[in-house]
Symmetry: C2
Subunit: 387 residues, 2 copies
């Protein structure tokens, strides 16, 4: 009998953290008090203004399909947000509301990436991003990046790795797992380089808004010829609503609309109505308060980890992650995470979920939990490394 | 400069009905009273019990990611529904909650269909289904079907069209656009034939529940070795919520879970909590009342269209569509639809949105509007064909 599983299944990597999650659930069922520092989701609830807008829409009962590109007023609000926050003009016809950043990635690569074309991206990076390319028959090509370049691709690297099969470049700033940003000069340069080579530029900006002590730059500030993937999940606190957006270059508008109609019909209607309240002053004020909280947590965790002897060659400026080198304590960060969970009931994400480059010595700590919880976690960590 | 649009864009067909929709919107903006009989969406609001459950969850503010496969209690309820409605046991580990049937199709084909493998399906059929295969590099192969086989594939046709490149067979019963069902004996036979040939069987059951005067059979009644795509959109009245489900054969469970984690993380949380109320007795009673209404509408529209001289060789038993032959009035159903809209402000879907086989003489009438509205539409239609 012929194999029926598609071949791509073996090319799509599993998340090692799932093994930790299963074990964490088991330990919790046993009564252990597990502290979760593996979770890429804000612990804050959805802001009340957004919740209220969602409820208000549900009360109408008219939860019908919207246009595939999304509610026109939401697309306009997103365009206005680009103007207000970045001083950048974006034609709202280029903006597509999507089922999370996931939907945005599928659309962006669906309209542009052919089978066997290569997509350049950093190692480490968020693994789902490369798996969208794999799903479509494309070839993710990761390029090792290090702290001296903020764990981000450089124009030089892009030029050096470009081949006739390269379709484009995907960057994420702030990055998951490293929390580091691309400097504006470098961002400008790598967009220019990619476009000069005839390629497509994809900018994952889902952690925009969660930036501390500096500003994130949108790729749209430097070129209209970019794909920008963003989301209401992280900064706006709407993970479970599954809503994000995609900005496409002009030439891709028609194809994107057609593909959206085919692959998801439309984004959840109540999520779209709820998101209309995401840009209200009261909501933004709440989000800025939360951003300040995340900044405190970052400082707390960064200092504590350094004090314990972890190596963090560059202080992260965004997202809610610290990517720390645990080589002083272990040469296998996955085993370290498993043992730490078992002994001390704290869950972390092993580096090898994010790539191959030095990943066996890296651990991702998410500060998506309170300083009170992290204080206990750090005590447990100290006991664990001195066991 | 190299072409940057992916090649698959040219293989994915546009919906001709979109041109009608744009024109209908324009006419409405001009003050014309357009009657919409092109829409594949129930006109009923979401049942109140489902709305209340959604609101109740939103009030918690905790709209967080769920597990990729969906809420365990929802998967259990879907399994219980198979037991209750069809008398069929389905292990809930095989059930994945998905972002609409769209998400279910992407998952089902994503785990099983390799590039260049063929997927057999009926012509006419719902075009998005074949476009999922195209997205993944697969080759949809449509087989012309006619009223004498209920517009459905037969085991004989499947055998005759099978090649070494064929991966599987997709059927939809009730069908969109024809509203016809596969008889249980034939369904059993085509599943057996497909599995004997080593292929995958995909059963689109999204119009189950909307069946009049007979029963729809789930493919799961005949084999565990099938993919079943279903949805809360049509029967349960939850289109805008974007929630459906997929049942997979045992051997695909792990791959499906991994792919779901990667391509959509999870289905909208509030939609999942709302769907928990979809199987409540009070909701099901409301849905059965609506089903009776749809049955009345079908009978009304069927009789009127026959009286006007349209040919409907087989009375549809499900969904909310009548696929009618307009060759007595026109040899170009698309032009007929455009002219009818312009002259009489009634929107229909042209046959060529559903395939090539005889489609230029076919029109899809959706009875997703009241008998009062359809009475006016029929008057307009009578005037139009006698103009």
């Amino acid at each position: 009998m012929r194999k029926r599983l598609a071949e791509r299944n073996s090319e799509i990597s599993s998340f090692y953290v799932m093994e930790l999650l299963r074990r964490a659930k088991y330990l919790e069922a046993q009564g252990r008090d597990v502290i979760h520092m593996e979770i890429g989701e804000p612990d804050f609830p959805t802001p009340p203004g957004i919740i209220d807008a969602g409820i208000k829409h549900l009360r109408t009962g008219e939860v019908k399909y919207t246009a595939a590109a999304g509610l026109p007023e939401l697309r306009k609000k997103i365009a206005a947000f680009y103007q207000q926050r970045y001083g950048v003009n974006v034609d709202d016809r280029r903006i597509f509301v999507t089922p999370g950043a996931s939907g945005a990635f599928l659309l962006a690569l669906g309209v542009s990436l052919n089978p066997d074309e290569e997509l350049l991206m950093a190692d480490p990076c968020y693994p789902c991003n490369s798996n969208f390319a794999t799903l479509l028959g494309g070839k993710p090509r990761t390029i090792a990046v290090d702290a001296d370049n903020h764990y981000q691709l450089t124009a030089k690297q892009i030029e050096a790795h470009w081949t006739p099969h390269t379709k484009g470049v995907l960057v994420a700033s702030p990055s998951n797992p490293t929390g580091t940003l691309i400097k504006p000069e470098e961002l400008k340069k790598i967009i220019y380089t990619t476009n000069s080579l005839g390629g497509c530029f994809y900018s994952d900006e889902i952690y925009h808004g969660l930036v501390y002590g500096t500003q994130a730059n949108t790729a749209l500030a430097f070129s209209d010829d970019v794909f920008v993937i963003n989301s209401f999940s992280k900064y706006f606190g709407m993970t479970g609503w599954r809503i994000g957006w995609l900005v496409v270059p002009d030439e891709f508008i028609d194809a994107t609309e057609k593909l959206a109609q085919n692959i998801y019909i439309a984004t959840s209607t109540q999520s779209q109505y709820a998101a209309l309240a995401a840009f209200d002053d009261s909501t933004l004020a709440e989000l800025e308060y939360r951003r300040a909280k995340f900044a405190e947590r970052r400082d707390f965790l960064y200092d504590k980890l350094l004090n314990l002897g972890f190596k963090i060659p560059i202080k992260p400026e965004g997202a809610f992650y610290i990517y720390a080198d645990c080589s002083p304590f272990s040469n296998d960060s996955f085993q370290f995470a498993l043992d730490f969970l078992e002994t001390e009931a704290v869950a972390l994400t092993p580096g090898k979920d994010f790539g191959a480059h030095n990943s066996r010595q890296m651990l991702r700590f998410a500060y998506t939990t309170s300083i009170a919880n992290m204080t206990i976690a750090i005590q447990r960590l100290e006991r664990f490394i001195n066991r």
